[in-house]
């Protein structure tokens, strides 16, 4: 057979790379983490110029979410509506393989509805008759608790857009390790989420102290275990609130400073 000069020929024999792994250098065991430890959070509002409001939220360990709000635009209906879209970037997952089609699209639609359900009680839609607000949450990197990060980023983006709200919404994710005595962990990483027996996302409005949304799945154990998980999640939300509030204040001060330049 004629040689194909256009391709770089690979080796005739190939072996699995694990054969070459030096024993004892296996991936270090992740140190047992404290159940209620929160990951470091970086939030920034007001970064996109083409959208009315925008916010970006990053959790330590590699979860990055970007949220943009457009509106209010004209709508045909009599009452105001909030339309949420939850999208994952193709490069957000761990592997290089693109996600399969319909299942992923259905899952994204479900998460978009969950976002809308959680944000609807916080937005004063009565002040926007005949208008629609379009919100898009884009997960740039999924390192665990992406929905919770998207919830917080969405609330920041809505506040940044000047939409009248009753309160901010803070989201927190939890998961339960498999096994009969598995404890609930706050803000799981991607590995913990994948191996989890049950997952839960809680959304809280801290100022009004009302739960805005709750989405859970899996085998959580007895009902008391779910109740304990919700309490843990709400506590986590209360601890995250000051950070989000500070980032929003900073962006509001930046806007005020840009509007009237300081005289001196």
């Amino acid at each position: 057979m004629a040689l194909d000069h256009r391709r770089v020929p690979g080796p005739e024999e190939s072996q699995a790379p694990l054969l070459y792994a030096v024993p004892g250098q296996a991936a270090p065991e992740a140190p047992g983490r404290e159940a209620a430890a929160l990951r470091p959070l970086l939030a920034r509002a007001g970064l996109l110029s083409q959208a009315e409001g925008s916010a970006s939220l990053e959790l330590g360990g590699g979860t990055k979410v970007l949220c943009a709000v457009r509106g209010p635009r004209e709508a045909a209906e009599g009452r105001g509506r909030l339309l949420c879209e939850f999208r994952r970037a193709p490069f957000s997952g761990r592997g290089a393989r693109p996600r399969p089609g319909p299942a992923a699209a259905a899952r994204e639609r479900e998460l978009g509805l969950a976002l809308q359900e959680a944000l609807a009680p916080a937005v004063r839609l009565a002040r926007y008759p005949r208008a629609r607000l379009e919100l898009t949450a884009l997960v740039l990197q999924d390192g665990g608790s992406a929905l919770a990060a998207a919830l917080s980023a969405a609330a920041l983006a809505l506040a940044d857009a000047g939409v009248e709200m009753f309160d901010l919404v803070v989201g927190c994710g939890l998961c339960r390790a498999p096994g009969p005595g598995g404890a609930w962990l706050l803000q799981p990483s991607e590995a913990e989420e994948r191996a989890a027996a049950a997952r839960l996302t809680v959304a809280l409005m801290p100022g009004l102290n009302q739960v805005a949304g709750l989405l859970g799945s899996g085998q959580g154990g007895p009902p008391e275990s779910w109740a304990q998980a919700v309490r843990l999640g709400l506590e986590g939300c209360q601890r995250l609130y000051p950070l989000l509030r500070r980032s929003l204040l900073r962006s509001a001060e930046r806007r005020a400073a840009e509007a009237d330049p300081p005289q001196s």
Partner: protein
């Protein structure tokens, strides 16, 4: 030196109802005035009444046409029963996305409503000052009215293409061809008249 502005986030308690009244950008809950916007706090103290606490954002978030607001719109199509318009400005704030409105035949003039002809009041391309009378329901657009002396056509172009000059409340004249065209003209504000 301007005093430092205090910024607030939605949901923050600003003051109790005894200390201040709720202004724009706030709402009341359980006897407290809470912020509804992320912006700067503004307190206007009136003599006698309670100070009004409001939250302002300098970049005005998109306004929505409210009932009774004066809007500037552009006529896009006319019919024997109504004229369809695009709402461009609310008051003096431009809108980022246009809203659609309708001016019905009976809302064009205040007097002799049944003798009105839409063709003799508006033409496509005219800039019209109108007032919002209704937000409309499911299928219809905003309902506007020009049934006042100060409302009506402000800028119109003649068939020759030149901008016309208003002569009376129902006629405009083209400066190039001197032909008169019928429009429902808005009364010119006194400060813009050159006499």
């Amino acid at each position: 030196m301007a005093p430092p502005v205090r910024c607030c986030v939605p949901g923050e308690r600003l003051c109790s109802l005894e200390e201040g009244a709720a202004g724009s950008g706030t709402y009341t809950r359980h006897g407290y005035v809470c912020a509804a916007l992320a912006g700067c706090l503004a307190k206007t103290s009136e003599d006698g009444a309670l100070p009004v606490v409001s939250v302002v954002r300098d970049a005005e978030s998109q306004l929505l046409p409210d009932v009774g607001a004066i809007v500037t719109c552009k006529v896009c199509s006319i019919n024997s029963r109504f004229a369809k318009v695009h709402i461009l400005y609310i008051g003096s704030t431009p809108l980022k996305s246009t809203f659609r409105g309708t001016i019905r035949r009976e809302d064009i003039r205040a007097t002799e409503k049944d003798k009105v002809e839409v063709y003799k009041s508006f033409r496509p391309g005219d800039i019209v000052l109108a007032k919002v009378i209704s937000l409309g329901d499911m299928q219809s657009n905003y309902l506007l009215s020009t049934a006042e002396n100060e409302l009506g056509v402000v800028v119109a172009h003649s068939e020759a293409g030149a901008q016309m000059v208003p002569i009376s409340w129902c006629e405009m004249q083209c400066p190039r061809t001197h032909s008169k065209e019928l429009r429902k003209v808005a009364r010119v504000q006194p400060e813009f008249l050159q006499t």
